[in-house]
């Protein structure tokens, strides 16, 4: 029998939004012991569906039509008090961001124990006993210690385990997971997915799992619902949808999921345009009362980038890959070693360094000044370097055309562009300086998968046309495989392994590289 049923649900957006309804005529059902994955890109309405099921619609949204039922009981008729009794006890939720979903001032044990104290009026000792058992069940390494720990003392993956322990504390009938692994590293993601699947099987919980990643779907789903612009366009068993999609949109989405197929190796130039020699960078946090242990972000890192090629630097969070990027463009000073571009050390003066190396940033929303026109932000670098303003403006228009934007869009402000278009502006801005080396710091990780494919195609095309040399920082091996010629795998500030990307991925020498490849979600389906 279906634990959770949603029928013909339509949720209206406030007036003035880009469409009338957040979701339209959505019908879903999740049975006991089943995992339903709701997949879609940003703006598809998948998160709105989840919050409606939790009775947590954002202000301004209202249910216009449809029915929601939990084990046969109508959810739309519940009063706010009744909702409070249902939420947490009968329907639980795991959020995307494990840092902000936990109270930073309460110990982990107290937060889990609160579930039993509030919903079942258990005393503190019994609550603690059960909290300990719950932490054991989610495989935290030191459950007794975790009980007394505060959220900031745990890693992201451990925090997400705590969230899962809390969500499952009262044996809910339905568990709603909203992108629970998106903020996690790939190896941690694999562990958390395995944990959710294991617990769900043992408790027979019905799970509604929201995600944008078809790799994750392939790992965990029993059934799949694909959403687009507020509508469910395709629904079926995981096998059906993943191997034999019927709707064109599903086909397109699946096609844009990058595989781990490295391109055939090209002959690379022997000219090393960028040489990083023994770079060392240590972060020391100075405080008045305590001195924390210095963190070694880069430890004797040496990599080389050949002219006209792409070098991927892959690693998980904390590996030092972003620090490396910032040192190479001169945003951060280094404590030892050297960055050599085109045969000479990176100049100290900002203006001189700007002609040699440019950067594309991760977040397309944060990397453009919201109060200045897009074209001006592209043209300002050349103008500062001495190009006459009129010529720089004309060049900005040409660059807009080059990156696939309308040249007349130079007069628009950043908020008038989509995420993918903004990233194109960021690329145009970097190219305006005609740099020898382009550093791209996770340029596609904030984008939807179909947009991701477009931006990667653009980078590839630009490289072919302009002979760009790209240092490509990413956490995603699949993305690296699509674009890059060589790869350097980093871990804890050290280069673990480096070489041609096809060779490294086919036959990794380091155990760490192997574990990264094994952890890629949906590998069995999308192939290595």
């Amino acid at each position: 029998m279906s634990r959770l049923v949603v029928e013909g649900l339509t949720i209206r957006l406030p007036r003035g939004a880009d469409r009338d309804n957040a979701i339209e005529d959505v019908s879903l059902s999740v049975a006991a012991g089943e995992i339903l994955c709701v997949v879609g890109e940003s703006g598809s309405g998948k998160s709105v569906t989840a919050s409606a099921v939790m009775g947590l619609l954002a202000p301004g949204l209202s249910i216009a039509a449809g029915r929601m039922a939990l084990s046969g009981e109508d959810l739309r008729a519940q009063s706010p008090e009744a909702w409070r009794a249902i939420r947490g006890r009968r329907i639980a939720m795991v959020f995307q961001e494990p840092m902000t979903a936990l109270n930073p001032l309460m110990s982990v044990g107290a937060q889990i124990g609160e579930m039993w104290r509030v919903h079942m009026n258990l005393d503190a000792r019994e609550a603690e006993r059960r909290a300990l058992a719950a932490l054991r069940e989610v495989n935290l390494p030191d459950p007794e210690g975790a009980l007394r720990a505060f959220p900031h003392e745990l890693s992201g993956g451990q925090r997400q385990r705590v969230m899962i322990a809390m969500a499952l504390a009262l044996e809910p009938e339905v568990l709603v997971c909203d992108e629970p692994t998106t903020a996690l590293d790939v190896t941690t993601q694999a562990q958390v997915l395995a944990l959710i699947k294991d617990l769900q099987r043992r408790h027979g919980t019905a799970v509604m799992f929201i995600t944008h990643d078809f790799g994750v779907v392939a790992e965990i789903a029993d059934r799949v619902a694909v959403m687009r612009l507020g509508r469910v366009v395709e629904e079926g068993t995981a096998r059906e949808v993943l191997t034999n999609p019927r709707h064109d949109y599903t086909k397109a989405l699946l096609a844009s999921v990058p595989g781990l197929h490295a391109p055939t190796a090209r002959a690379l130039s022997s000219d090393e345009v960028l040489q990083v020699r023994g770079l060392t960078k240590t972060y020391v946090s100075r405080g008045l009362f305590r001195r924390r242990k210095p963190v070694r972000a880069l430890d004797d890192v040496s990599v080389t980038l050949k002219r006209g090629s792409t070098l991927a630097v892959v690693g998980e969070s904390g590996s030092g890959k972003s620090t490396l990027a910032r040192c190479v463009v001169g945003l951060l000073g280094n404590d030892g070693g050297q960055v050599v571009i085109g045969g000479a050390p990176l100049p100290k003066r900002r203006r001189d360094a700007a002609r040699l190396v440019q950067m594309v940033f991760q977040d397309p929303y944060a990397s453009l000044n919201p109060r200045r026109r897009a074209g001006a932000q592209v043209a300002q670098g050349p103008i500062a370097a001495g190009t006459p303003a009129v010529a720089a403006q004309r060049e900005a228009r040409d660059l807009f055309a080059l990156v696939g934007l309308d040249p007349d869009a130079v007069d628009r402000y950043p908020h008038e562009f989509s995420g993918g278009q903004r990233q194109r502006i960021g690329i145009a801005r970097a190219l305006a300086m005609k740099p020898q080396v382009l550093v791209a710091d996770e340029p596609v990780s904030a984008l939807d998968v179909s947009v991701q494919a477009q931006v990667l195609a653009l980078l590839r095309e630009l490289q072919a046309r302009l002979g760009l040399s790209i240092l490509f920082i990413t956490h995603d091996l699949r993305v690296a495989a699509q674009l890059c010629d060589e790869v350097a795998v980093m871990r804890n500030g050290v280069v673990e392994e480096a070489g041609p990307i096809g060779a490294v991925f086919a036959d990794p020498r380091s155990a760490y590289t192997r574990s990264l490849i094994d952890a890629i979600p949906g590998r069995a389906l999308f192939g290595l």
Partner: protein, 277 residues
């Protein structure tokens, strides 16, 4: 455009704008409504409002027309408010921007200076400044500006601290742009909205500070300010209270207007609040 629309939708902002416009018209039209010297003797002293049709708001203890002083006083109060606020905002932004943008030792030094100013009660500091430099209109205005900048500096610094690490600022560094460009073109425009809102508070306080000085007869006695009029009424407060009450109400309304405009600006310039209603 969006901010302007949000501003016009807010009722508080509209009321505030109307009040401020009325005060502005009073001030600008003062010489046209009352061409004679407002400080010249006009008639018998201490006539109640309405008692003599020539003086709709009565006369003060020296026999000067209260209505004329009120109109000319509007000009003085607004002028002091605007000029003193500009001084405070310019000093505050300059110090806050430099401290927040560069951080480190520069920040520490500038913030200690700011704290030194903040720990002194600003009215006391104002009294000292006026006592030392005299109480002409100019010195009073500058002195008010000089005691009002520390909160502006703190606010600007806080905005700069969060904005300077944003990617778009880093992107401009990578493009080879100088610090002056980064501060003035990139960070400042994004830091400005809360400072503009706070400027309305500074302006209200500036008008009040001048009135308080005048009440103690430490402001410029040769100009017809509202504060001076209140000070004149002090000796006859129990019998002819209207002498102090009429300019008092004028000050109250003006500050209300300034505050409402500030509130409206806050709602309009803060996108999260604007979309919430």
């Amino acid at each position: 455009m969006r901010a302007a629309k949000a501003y016009l939708r807010s009722q508080a902002a509209l009321i505030g704008t109307v009040i401020l416009l009325a005060v502005l018209v009073m001030g600008l039209g003062a010489s046209w409504f009352y061409p004679a010297d407002p400080l010249g003797l006009a008639g018998r002293p201490l006539q109640w409002p309405g008692a003599n049709p020539r003086f709709p708001l009565g006369t003060d203890p020296s026999g000067r027309d209260i209505a004329a002083q009120l109109f000319h006083g509007a000009r003085i109060s607004l002028l002091i408010g605007v000029v003193a606020t500009s001084i405070a905002v310019v000093i505050g932004i300059a110090i806050g921007a430099v401290a927040g943008f560069y951080g480190g030792i520069v920040d520490t030094l500038l913030m200690r200076v700011t704290e030194a100013f903040q720990t002194l009660p600003n009215f006391l500091l104002l009294l000292v400044l006026v006592a030392v430099f005299g109480s002409t209109m100019g010195t009073v205005t500058v002195a008010i500006g000089l005691v009002s900048w520390p909160p502006v500096a703190r606010l600007t610094r806080a905005e700069f601290l969060t904005l300077r690490t944003r990617d778009f600022v880093q992107a401009c560094r990578v493009q080879g742009l100088g610090d002056a460009h980064l501060i003035l073109r990139e960070v400042l425009p994004n830091a400005l909205p809360p400072v503009i809102v706070y400027a309305s508070v500074v302006m209200a306080v500036a008008i009040l500070l001048e009135s308080a000085l005048a009440f103690l007869q430490l402001s410029d006695p040769n100009v017809p300010s509202w504060g001076n009029l209140i000070g004149l009424g002090r000796s006859v407060l129990r019998t002819e209270w209207y002498v102090s009450a009429i300019p008092g109400v004028a000050i109250l309304l003006t500050i209300l207007g300034v505050s409402l405009v500030g509130q409206g600006l806050n709602d309009a310039l803060n996108p999260r609040l604007a979309s919430g209603r």
